[in-house]
């Protein structure tokens, strides 16, 4: 075959790197309200296009438009704003606490607050989330005490997890929040298993799995789609596409596919993309998916299109791999500001009220922090004990661990 040209490996690259001018003009953003809301029992085949579009409710003027709008009361909207503001303030304080050496590690949500805060409001008591490390909004919006979160972050003597877990790896069965794993992806298939169990027991509870754009490449993602599809598990499968996986842009995980949501189509799973910075859109889509699950119509895959404004974690410095002002250029805006504007448009809010709320929220976070710090921080004050380290490996401590604990002198 003399006419054959040598092959070449294609390695996707982001269009913009440090020093370049950020440019998201290739990101196609449909107009708010332009995507129709199908009935929840729609044939998945009919809505394949939803995996390639973006469902949006809030338009530029801050109005809620289109068929996905309208399911939240005024109070729910104000609560939503407060939840997001709280999460943001919480993040800021804990980020600082980490820099002060009060803990070893922190991960923030900046820019992605709407996703977990709004989703939480579509869940019912008894439902179970299988989150990653970037959905603390599920706890905040679910009323989990901030002081408990901080105790965990500080690994202090009141830490509900006894110092055993990395900061932010919360766990609360009561609040429908499964123990976070440091191993990416594992929770996605577990969520499906939980949902299958609920169906096996003829219960009415549903599960939600969470995964990042980068982590969709992991095997657990595939297993989750296979099992969810086969057993029509009552589960909502959430992909948070915040454009980055540490230093790796989403093109490395997405490859030649149009979108992450499209991964669901090959499994016959209804797959939707939604503006992740639009509290109303997130909530509406989450509700739609939750209703499908609850009505035994099976799983839904949702891709939240958002942007990780901050560093990956306190161990990361994104200026080494992406343009500094990239987040400003991000076309879907800031979820807090967008919901605030909507409330103002609706006459439910004002700039003054917002400033006041910011102060109140900050005050609440500071109060919690003071309370938590009474129980110690990572390197000072009260700590979990060495005994705690040996407990809970098994329900009953086996002889070899008892010997080891003895050897440790505790």
């Amino acid at each position: 075959m003399p006419d054959v040209q040598p092959l070449q490996l294609h390695v996707p690259e982001p269009e913009v790197r440090p020093g370049d001018q950020p440019d998201f003009s290739n990101v196609k953003i449909p107009q708010a309200g332009s995507v129709e809301r199908p009935p929840v029992d729609v044939d998945p085949k009919e809505i394949r296009d939803l995996a390639y579009s973006i469902i949006r409710v809030l338009n530029r003027k801050g109005e809620a438009v289109g068929s996905w709008a309208g399911s939240l009361s005024d109070e729910a909207l104000r609560d939503g704003l407060k939840d997001m503001m709280t999460l943001r303030a919480f993040d800021a304080r804990m980020q600082t606490a980490q820099r002060q050496g009060k803990t070893s590690f922190y991960m923030q949500h900046m820019g992605e607050e709407a996703v977990s805060c709004a989703f939480r409001k579509a869940m019912e008591p008894g439902d179970m989330n299988f989150p990653t490390y970037r959905q603390a909004g599920l706890l905040i919006a679910g009323g989990y005490p901030m002081v408990e979160m901080m105790n965990q972050i500080y690994s202090n003597e009141a830490d509900p997890l006894k110092g055993r877990q990395l900061p932010i790896m919360y766990s609360s069965k009561e609040h429908g929040f499964f123990s976070i794993s440091g191993n990416l992806g594992t929770q996605f298939i577990q969520a499906v298993g939980w949902a299958m169990a609920s169906a096996i027991k003829n219960d009415t509870k549903i599960a939600a799995g969470w995964i990042g754009d980068g982590s969709t490449a992991e095997s657990d993602f595939h297993a989750a789609l296979v099992f969810a599809s086969t057993y029509r598990a009552p589960v909502v499968l959430n992909i948070v596409n915040n454009q980055w996986a540490i230093s790796t842009f989403q093109g490395i995980a997405r490859g030649g596919s149009g979108t992450f949501a499209a991964r669901g189509l090959g499994f016959g799973i209804p797959s939707l993309r939604v503006d992740g910075n639009d509290y109303l859109a997130v909530h509406a889509v989450a509700k739609w998916a939750a209703e499908r699950a609850r009505r035994n119509l099976g799983p839904t895959l949702i891709e939240y299109v958002t942007y990780r404004v901050g560093a990956h974690s306190t161990s990361d410095d994104p200026s080494a791999y992406r343009a500094k002002t990239e987040s400003d250029a991000w076309p879907l805006g800031d979820p807090v500001i967008r919901l605030k504007n909507h409330l103002i448009v609706k006459g439910l809010w004002s700039d003054d009220r917002h400033k006041q709320a910011e102060a109140e929220v900050l005050d609440g976070v500071i109060q919690a922090q003071k309370e938590a710090e009474k129980h110690g921080t990572l390197h000072s004050g009260g700590k979990p004990s060495t005994r705690d380290m040996f407990e809970g490996v098994y329900e009953t401590m086996p002889p070899h661990l008892r010997r080891q604990r003895q050897e440790a002198g505790v």
């Binding site: 794993s181 191993n183 298939i189 577990q190 657990d220 809970g392 002889p399």
Partner: protein, 337 residues
């Protein structure tokens, strides 16, 4: 008392458990309608319905991952991996998840699952139907690891494993499914119906996890074995006439160290046998423990007789398998040392 094969005993354990507890569910590749390639789950789907016993996609990761989620909900899944050689795709879910969930959530979530799998060689299964990966699980804190050697124990241990509040890796020596194979591969195999350990009570009973048992009392030396190797050790003792004390460990993690040290302190000599490859096999842990706890009683070095450090070959199966001749030689050498 009824006689059962090991397959029937294992099936009976699941049957009894499913009958007593609605939260017990069973699934895996081919386990539903067909009842498993070794027939261990035959009839369970008919009896308990297909939402309690069903076929799974060929994803060991998915099977174990889903089981973990179900356990977090409150079920007690008992899942099958078709061969132990195929457990590795599920390794992350077992090691990073099942084993850690209780600890990392401070008991908020637990993981009472059982992962059953046929293990060991002797059926000309080649390198992917013969492996004994127990040591890859005994290194993982949070797991329990069980290897039954006969129908009676298999049923009692499996019921105990299903009822256990923590994740249990349950390795079934497939060469024992139909009879007590002692490594004399050229001789006809006795069926379980002719062996006292084939006597299996019909209903519910447990054999406790974490307890070993003397299979043979003896004074010359102690043989530590589990699964198929308990019979090979018996054959080697018979063949050599050495008065070996043979311990069937049954549970490798947590280990019944007291039974082991009591015996070795009595006999002063110890041989460890397993089918898995030598290096970093579970025999290493046994030897390390015995030399530590029985140092002043030991009259000879502890010898390990194991599979060689190669993949399990197909044609050379009986060169690979640590049969009675090799075990016998080790017994003799240990007596002479």
């Amino acid at each position: 008392m009824p006689r059962m094969t090991m397959i029937e005993a294992i099936r009976s354990a699941m049957d009894v458990s499913m009958g007593r507890d609605d939260d017990v569910v069973v699934f895996g590749e081919d386990v539903g309608y067909f009842g498993g390639v070794f027939r261990c789950t035959a009839g369970l789907q008919q009896k308990y319905g297909k939402t309690r016993c069903f076929d799974a996609p060929i994803s060991e990761l998915g099977i174990v991952g889903a089981a973990i989620g179900m356990a977090a909900y409150g079920l007690k899944p008992c899942v099958e991996v078709q061969f132990a050689d195929y457990v590795y795709p599920a390794y992350d879910q077992i090691v990073s998840e099942a084993a850690r969930i209780r600890y990392r959530s401070n008991g908020g979530f637990t993981c009472p699952i059982v992962v059953r799998m046929p293990t060991g060689g002797g059926i000309f299964g080649g390198q992917t139907h013969s492996q004994s990966p127990e040591a890859l699980f005994t290194h993982v804190s949070g797991l329990k690891v069980v290897v039954p050697s006969n129908p009676h124990d298999a049923k009692g241990l499996l019921i105990a494993a299903i009822e256990d509040p923590d994740p249990v890796i349950f390795l079934e020596p497939k060469r024992l499914y139909n009879g007590p194979f002692d490594g004399h591969h050229d001789k006809p195999v006795t069926p379980w119906s002719k062996h006292p350990l084939g006597e299996v009570p019909d209903g519910h009973y447990t054999v406790p996890l974490g307890k070993a048992e003397l299979r043979r009392e003896g004074s010359a030396l102690t043989v530590l074995a589990y699964g198929t190797m308990t019979f090979v050790a018996e054959a080697a003792a018979a063949d050599t006439g050495i008065d070996a004390e043979i311990i069937d460990l049954k549970t490798l993690l947590p280990l019944d160290l007291d039974t082991i040290t009591a015996s070795v302190k009595k006999t002063g000599r110890c041989v460890v046998v397993h089918e898995a490859t030598l290096t970093s096999g579970f025999g290493a842990e046994l030897a390390a423990l015995v030399q530590k706890h029985c140092f002043y009683s030991l009259e000879a070095p502890i010898t390990r007789v194991t599979g060689w450090d190669t993949p399990y070959p197909h044609a050379q199966e009986w060169d690979y398998f640590p049969g009675p001749a090799r075990v016998g030689r080790a017994l003799r050498e240990t007596m002479e040392a």
